[in-house]
């Protein structure tokens, strides 16, 4: 009998839906059907059984071809390369669990590496804004249950986060929003007429690159001062109308995406968005949230913050303390300025996402990819190490875009002999300890729990 597994988490976008149902074959080895997932989520579950999926590490040979090697050899090469490099860069983590991120951090600290994640080229500017101005936010359930004005600024969830609008932000009927979409005013700020903009009650077709000016106009209006007739390509009346709607909301929610944090001014666009949210709280309840891209890209920000105090761009090369300053310690800057001499790409595809010039710099040095699948990065690597797919073959904690931790399940066993990210990096760590003749240490001794009886007898 095939088995139906319910409340399965989806390892695709930052919505981190955990209501999928997966029908698994009798022997627990094959995924037969998925229910509730969007098309992309569905594809991820089915892709694991693709026959083209690599099941052994592959090492680049002098003639340029890739040859299968053992995991031991791959671990040894990785450990030696990290130890030898003056400043390795370990980057990625769009698609792995927090357990893997924690294991990598131990390796990075030992290697004196720079540890960075996809936020560096994604919501990194949003972090800079959060450093400077805070983050009045909420969980997505608050949006579902309370929000009556929802602003989408420079984001298009209808495409990038397919179930966001039905689970959280536009359509759902929540406790205080029993009429669902009918009860919500949707404002979309975007230079394009996206599918989200088409759904909106108000579309402010902003002149590209002028987000900061428009936020400044909102804030000026909110404080009762006059503004010019047109700001960022939007007429004054329309700005005043939108500001009034936000101010009159019972609960105003602002979602922002790459369109806001990657146009000119970057972090400052988010910074002033945060100021605007704070201003709105003088009149009503308002909240703001970054539309994080991957299902656990909020994860490294959490794990590394509790381990080192910084969410991304961590320079651990100093040995005694971590240093962070995006612009200096961010992956692209490090690559472009030739500041690193080894690159490890984990659970992402830097080959596809980095500017070609940055990749050219990185390719001067050893280039290793750890990822379940063949991707552009794996194909230009010196070494590609496949691992299990989190959320399908490997359970673990992931952080949704609102930083809510969700304990993802596994639904089938991974290919035999293929480790998880965590197992792989623990092997690398142990190998580094052997090579340097140091004691490996783990925060938690394995298996020591003692019986104690706190009660009176």
């Amino acid at each position: 009998m095939p088995k139906l597994i319910t409340q399965v988490g989806c390892p695709y976008c930052g919505s981190s839906c955990d209501d999928l149902e997966v029908l698994v074959s009798d022997d627990g080895k094959k995924i037969l059907e998925t229910h509730n997932a969007c098309v992309i989520g569905n594809e991820i579950f089915h892709h694991v059984s693709s026959p083209s999926r690599p099941k052994k590490p592959r090492m680049r040979q002098p003639d340029g071809t890739m040859k299968e090697i053992s995991y031991d050899e791959a671990v040894d090469f990785t450990a030696k390369t990290l130890l030898k490099s003056k400043k390795p860069l370990i980057y990625g983590f769009g698609s792995t669990n927090c357990e893997g991120m924690s294991a990598v951090a131990r390796v990075a600290e030992k290697a004196g590496a720079v540890l960075d994640n996809c936020a560096s080229i994604c919501h990194g500017p949003s972090f800079l804004a959060i450093f400077d101005n805070g983050y009045p936010s909420c969980t997505l359930g608050e949006v579902k249950n309370r929000a009556d004005v929802v602003v989408f600024w420079g984001c298009n969830p209808m495409h990038a986060h397919p179930r966001h609008t039905s689970r959280y932000s536009i359509f759902p009927r929540g406790f205080f929003t029993t009429k669902g979409q009918m009860q919500r005013t949707i404002i979309c700020v975007d230079p394009r007429e996206t599918d989200t903009a088409k759904l909106a009650d108000m579309h402010l077709m902003i002149k590209q690159g002028h987000d900061y000016d428009l936020f400044d106009a909102f804030r000026t209006v909110l404080r009762g001062h006059p503004i010019p007739e047109e700001v960022a390509g939007i007429k004054r009346e329309k700005i005043e109308e939108a500001a009034e709607a936000m101010k009159k909301a019972r609960f105003c929610m602002i979602f922002f995406g790459m369109g806001c944090c990657h146009t000119d001014g970057r972090n400052h666009n988010i910074d002033i968005a945060i100021s605007t949210t704070r201003d709105l709280n003088t009149y009503t309840k308002a909240s703001i949230m970054a539309m994080r891209g991957h299902y656990n890209i909020a994860g490294p920000g959490q794990v590394w913050s509790w381990q080192f105090g910084f969410p991304y761009c961590l320079d651990l090369s100093k040995g005694t303390h971590a240093h962070m300053n995006p612009g200096e310690t961010s992956s692209i800057d490090l690559a472009m300025r030739d500041e690193v001499d080894c690159f490890v790409n984990v659970g992402t595809d830097a080959g596809a996402h980095f500017p070609i010039a940055a990749i050219k710099h990185l390719k001067k040095h050893p280039f290793i990819t750890v990822d379940p699948n063949i991707c552009m990065a794996s194909e230009i690597s010196d070494l590609h190490i496949p691992v299990r797919v989190v959320g399908v073959e490997e359970p673990g904690v992931v952080y949704r875009m609102d930083n809510v931790p969700i304990q993802f399940k596994k639904v089938i066993d991974g290919p035999e002999g293929v480790p998880s990210d965590e197992e792989l990096f623990d092997m690398v760590y142990k190998r580094m300890c052997e090579l340097t003749q140091t004691e490996p240490f783990w925060i938690l001794a394995k298996g020591h729990a003692q019986a104690s009886t706190p009660t009176e007898h």
Binding site: Q7, G9, F176, G309, A322, V404, A449
Partner: protein, 568 residues
């Protein structure tokens, strides 16, 4: 496990009324024993003070808001992070240290246990992930309940049994320890941008008052017989004149009696009482009401308190009292983070500089110490800083110094720009009390261990208890005339043995020890109505599936589970 003998120190153990007797402490298999064999490793404690491991009843050390604090304050790390100890993890941050630094620093001060004081249930896997990345010390976490939709509904209808069934389910699901209240009703109101500043302000929609929530949760706690009492952060925190609300809330405990099998005697723990002992009707005539508050606490045996002392540092405030943080941001204009958590709670985070040259900060500093000096029963009054709210926990040794030395207090007063105004608004200058080492051991060890319901394990050095033994470089017979020496001794223990293993030697970390997560497994008889309510709310209102909500066992890999069985 090896045997250890801590030899010839001045032992201070209030659980057995031992005050400075020169004795040996024998350790075997992680426990304190009557004696050990001749092969035991000897630790020379001659001329030094020996105490049980410290117990922190209230600190924010793990979880989402603590991590927001870490994440959004890079400047808390800049030039402030000490160098890593060789072969140990990096230690980052001052006011909100990394998990590694948290574990190491508590151990260096000879602390065994820390209670994470506010766990948002939805985020409990996060709290446990951080706890298990915090080395050495044992930890537990208190889930917050006072703004939870289920609790508000049940208590509005006076359904204590249902409230208890839900609380038991949630504590077990989140691997929590007890019942925490933060700004009862006020945080629920904050979801609409409002607050409850008095005990009679009705909570929007739920139509229940803070007073009803407080008494309802005292009843729920005693119905369940949990190891710890109801633990409350009261309404109207941090505002001038709030001591009246404080006294009114404390009085709600009158008439209730502790019902449990853990040796706990109180029904209410009122936390960071310093923030709730303010007089005046504005910042201009802001003044201490420490005496008024402590006079009442002294008469009520069923209340315990912790101080929440201001340490005069640049720190990071963080609390589930969402509206307070918004209010604070309006005062200091620094960055503000907030998280409203669906159906459950909220939290806010704002950096804060307690500047000794600002009059109000000086008064706050005095109030915390006055409370510690006015307390008649050190077994019911515990040292905290509400870490990191009034200051980082690494300042406990400094607070001990101030409590033990009038000279040290006066020296600090002398550095204030508005010394005279601070003296006018407080009583600190006129208090000559100096706490003894025995009283400090009560306030940091025996007392909190009893209030948390594990005085059989922690807080003392009797045979059978956990072998958590701290040795401090202080001579009981001739205490140093320089109070700075007291602070130094408590900052870096000469030795600290945790669960029978040496984890600190000469103030340096020597081992990652044996860390445990302590949680309560509360069982009540099956309650179909409550289970139905839970399932329905998860289906309709939550955005996370009920199956993915309870914390998986592997996230608390070294648990110490305390069973509470109401049926039995």
């Amino acid at each position: 496990m090896a045997e250890l003998l801590v030899k010839g120190g001045f032992v201070i153990d209030p659980t057995r009324r031992i005050d400075g007797d020169v004795m040996d402490v024998a350790i075997k298999d992680g426990k304190i024993v009557e004696k050990v064999g001749p092969g035991a490793k000897v630790i020379d404690a001659k001329g030094k003070v020996v105490m049980a491991g410290g117990v922190d009843v209230h600190a924010h050390v793990a979880g989402p808001k603590v991590n927001v604090g870490r994440l959004f304050r890079p400047e808390d790390k800049l030039f402030k992070s000490p160098n890593a100890q060789k072969n140990y993890r990096m230690e980052m941050g001052f006011s909100i240290p990394s998990t590694f630094k948290t574990g190491y620093d508590y151990a260096r001060m000879g602390y065994s246990f820390v209670m994470e004081a506010a766990m948002p249930p939805l985020h409990s896997p996060h709290v446990h992930e951080e706890i298990h990345d915090t080395p050495i010390i044992d930890e537990a976490a208190l889930p917050v309940f006072a703004n939870n939709w289920f609790v508000l509904e049940y208590l509005k209808n006076g359904e204590i049994e249902n409230s208890a069934a839900y609380v038991a389910w949630l504590i077990t699901a989140t691997k929590g320890y007890g019942i925490k209240l933060v700004n009862p009703g006020g945080t629920a109101a904050w979801a609409w941008g409002l607050n409850c500043l008095t005990l009679q302000d009705p909570v929007p929609y739920f139509d229940i008052t803070p007073a009803e929530i407080i008494t309802g949760l005292i009843k729920t706690n005693e119905y369940l017989g949990l190891p710890h009492s109801m633990h409350i952060h009261q309404n109207n925190l941090g505002n001038p004149g709030n001591y009246e609300v404080t006294l009114e809330s404390l009085k709600l405990a009158e008439g209730y009696k502790a019902k449990n099998k853990f040796g706990r005697e109180q029904v209410m723990h009122s936390t960071h009482i310093q923030f709730h002992s303010y007089g005046g009707d504005g910042w201009a005539n802001f003044e201490s009401k420490a005496k008024e508050v402590m006079d009442y606490v002294n008469t009520q045996k069923n209340i315990t308190v912790d101080l929440g002392c201001v340490t005069l540092d640049e720190t990071t405030t963080m609390t589930a009292d969402g509206p307070f943080e918004h209010h604070l941001n309006g005062l200091n204009h620094l960055k503000w983070a907030n998280v409203d958590v669906e159906l459950e709670t909220a939290a806010g985070v704002v950096p804060y500089v307690y500047d000794k040259d600002i009059k109000v900060c000086g008064i706050q500093w005095a109030i915390g110490l006055e409370l510690g000096l006015y307390a008649k029963d050190p077994m019911r009054t515990f040292i905290t800083t509400d870490h990191p709210n009034a200051g980082p926990f690494t300042r406990y040794p400094r607070i001990i110094k101030w409590l033990m030395s009038k000279k040290a207090r006066e020296a600090t007063l002398d550095t204030f720009k508005h010394k005279d105004k601070v003296i006018d608004a407080t009583n600190i200058h006129g208090i000559d009390t100096e706490r003894t080492l025995y009283e400090i051991a009560q306030m940091t060890r025996a007392g909190p261990a009893k209030a948390l319901g594990f005085s059989r394990m922690f807080g003392g050095l009797a045979p059978g208890m956990d072998a958590d033994v701290a040795v401090f470089d202080l001579n009981y017979k001739s205490m140093p005339s320089d109070p700075e020496k007291i602070e130094q001794a408590f900052q870096r223990a000469s030795w600290f043995i945790k669960s029978g293993e040496i984890v600190v030697k000469n103030g340096d970390i020597a081992s990652h020890g044996n860390k445990r997560t302590i949680w309560v497994n509360a069982k009540v008889k099956e309650n179909p109505q409550v289970m139905r309510d839970i399932h329905e709310k998860f289906l309709k209102d939550y955005t996370v599936g009920i199956l993915n909500y309870p914390v998986h066992d592997y996230l608390a890999p070294h648990p110490l589970v305390i069973d509470v069985d109401v049926e039995a």
